[in-house]
Amino acid sequence: MAVDERTTGSAGLAIGAGSRLTRIGVRAALLLGVLISLFPFYWLVVMASGTTQDIYRYPPKLVPGPHLLDNMRRVLDTVDFFGSLFNTVVVAVLGTALVLFFDSLAAFAFAKYEFPAKKFLFGTLLVTYMIPAQLSLVPQFVTMAEFGWAGSLKALIIPGAANAFGIFWMRQYAQNSLPDELLDAGRIDGAGFFRLYWTVALPLFRPALAFLCIFTFIGLWNDYIWPLVVLIDPDKVTLQVALANLNVLYNTDYSLVMAGALMSVIPLIIVFVLGARHFLRDLAAGATKI
């Protein structure tokens, strides 16, 4: 249904109403946009597969060179790439799992149960979303130091393990897509809160969880300022911090740095492209929710 609506709607738009020529123009513009959007990745591949001299040659070399594997091997020899990758994966996977669990649990309660001070608590939740993270960058670090968590991956995982955005978004979803009748049926069977959550709510949350999962995963994977501040041991950093260090330490060897950048980017692009279907469908709805 929705598709029909969309196409008829677009017919009323300035651009959509045009001739064959305009349609070609539109397609050309879109393709140009795609090229601009993807060009930096292509250029990254070109730089990562060439030599440092190639990067600053005039006229520039615009096609990939033969040194990609060589440069990548040098990255592995120079920095503990897999160690950083492992840290990043641990943070992103554990962090995402906790967010999914805590957020959906809280969302289920907010959407389908009554309890004292519910309105107030929900309001507080929304207010917390408005506090910029940088406001408390310093005290957060000090808190971590007091906990003895500074330098540990815990500092990247635990503080953000439940977030206001996810709860809000999941609650909206729960209200719309979790029929009360199902819950009632479960209750008649004697299921309590947590069993209803696990057996009835969670399976129905799947699409929303998929979105939240990718959203959170990407955010944790790419986080930079907080790991930069709170991770201390240079042997125990995430990919982002490792790459930033590589960039400074090896500024005379740009093909090495670029190979490192490429290697740090690839895993996430794969995750995104695989999950893009779930993610992009809900993106607009999710983003505009708060």
Binding site: T52, A145, E146, F147, D233, T252, D253
Partner: protein, 435 residues
């Protein structure tokens, strides 16, 4: 120390209330002992690339010779970050390295927190004192007399220049001659004008004027803050450095490139910059940056005479798991023989005079067309003035470097930039109790 730790923790516990307090109680107890190497079989060492011999470190990773069971594992941190990273670990009291390298200007900034570092005299440092340069040894002490640093290398300076370009310009081009032909900064500028006018491709004299400012500064015994904690950065010795730098810019002799950027690398390999005014430890960086220019460079005396630029220290933090072992490592790594090896491998200039006479110090370097670097750096090390650095030096000089960049890259009026630099330095320092 435990007292302060306790009070801070109590403060947090009280303000966090029940839940937080419980969490603190839970996690606080299990917190690591603070050392980055806790639970491992080695001591941890933080350094930046090029500050220590890679070969000796590789040996120490397998086991420090002469000390059974002692292993040291190094971790590289960019030199611009190492000081703040050490501080961060100290304030977190976690993952603090057992051993760390400190830049010459950074050692003084640790003076206010001197108790975070071990007093090396308590570990028997005095027993090796006679092996080290006297001025370097003295600079390891805080004003209260605590020895928190151990001499690593020294940084005698020289003028690095491109012999080929000087020759094309019709200038004196052999090291001795250049030293005589360019005895002052004024003559240096004159040579730069000739280079630019006569050499095809119009090479620049310097990559940026900040480097010249730095060198003129170090040739003075006084810096920005004197021993009585007074700001003297608005005086003639600084203004002279400033004016000379601005003059180089106005003559169009600066390539106006920030060091360490891709552009810098391109300019150095492309022969667009004819000289470098820097210390001995820059040799390896230059070889890395511009390998293809090998053979074209030469070294000679710095205009207006040599100075000491940088040169580092090693420190042991109070979290060090094995102070005796760590000190044994320092003694081994920085012994005259090993400083000699570090010089050969990394151009780290020894702080142990016994090494200077060794034939190994006097080898020639094909990168400098077979010239023996020691012939320039050796005398420079002896003639460098002894300079007083206050803990506030970096705070005080940063605005000047920044304003100089403003003049160089953004076309700010030099007079206005100078006034702004003085004002900023004064305001910042007044907060720290320097007037």
């Amino acid at each position: 120390m435990p007292h302060r730790t306790l009070s801070r923790r109590r403060l947090l516990g009280a303000s966090l209330g029940g839940v937080g307090g419980a969490l603190l109680g839970l996690s606080g107890c299990g917190a690591s002992a603070g050392s980055a190497s806790a639970g491992s079989d080695h001591l941890s060492l933080w350094y930046w690339k090029g500050s220590l011999s890679d070969e000796l470190l590789a040996t120490a990773e397998r086991g420090v010779p002469g000390v059974s069971g002692l292993k040291v594992q190094g971790a590289q941190i960019p030199d611009s970050d190492i000081d703040s990273k050490v501080r961060t670990s100290l304030s977190a009291r976690a993952y603090v390295p057992d051993i760390t390298v400190a830049n010459s200007d950074n050692l003084a900034t640790f003076f206010p927190d001197e108790n975070e570092f071990l007093d090396l005299r308590t570990l028997g440092a005095e027993s090796v004192r006679s092996e080290y340069l006297d001025w370097k040894w003295k600079s390891c002490f805080t004003p209260s007399g605590r020895m928190i640093g151990f001499p690593l290398d020294a940084g005698p300076t020289a003028l690095y220049y491109r012999r080929d370009l000087f020759q094309k310009a019709g200038l004196a081009h052999e090291p001795e001659e250049v030293g005589e032909a360019v005895p002052t900064w004024e003559k240096f500028i004159a040579a730069g004008k000739t280079l630019r006018a006569k050499v095809p491709g119009k090479p620049y004299l310097v990559s940026n004027i900040g480097n010249v400012f730095q060198q003129v500064l170090l040739q003075s015994t006084k810096q920005f803050v004197d021993a009585d904690n007074r700001f003297i950065g608005d005086q003639a010795h600084i203004k002279r450095a400033w004016d000379l730098s601005v003059e180089i810019l106005h003559q169009g002799l600066s390539a106006r490139i920030t060091d360490g950027t891709p552009d810098y690398n391109a300019a150095m390999s492309g022969g667009r910059v004819a000289t470098m005014t820097t210390a001995v430890w820059a040799i390896n960086g230059l070889k890395d940056t511009a390998p293809k220019t090998s053979g074209a460079w030469r070294l000679t005396t710095m205009p207006d005479g040599p100075a000491n630029y940088g040169g580092s220290y090693m420190t042991l933090t109070r979290y060090c798991r094995d102070p005796e072992g760590a000190f044994a490592f320092l003694k081994w790594l920085l012994s005259p023989e090993n400083q000699l090896k570090s010089y050969q491998e990394m151009a780290l200039f020894p702080t142990t005079p016994a090494a200077y006479a060794d034939p190994a110090m006097h080898t020639s370097d094909p990168f400098f067309g077979g010239q023996r670097p020691i012939d320039v750096f050796g005398p420079a090390a002896q003639k460098a003035p002894v300079v007083y650095f206050s803990p506030y030096e970096e705070t005080a000089n940063t605005p000047f470097f920044q304003e100089l960049t403003n003049v160089e890259l953004l076309g700010k009026k030099p007079d206005r930039a100078w006034r702004d630099a003085v004002n900023t330095a004064e305001t910042t320092l007044s907060r720290l109790g320097v007037s």
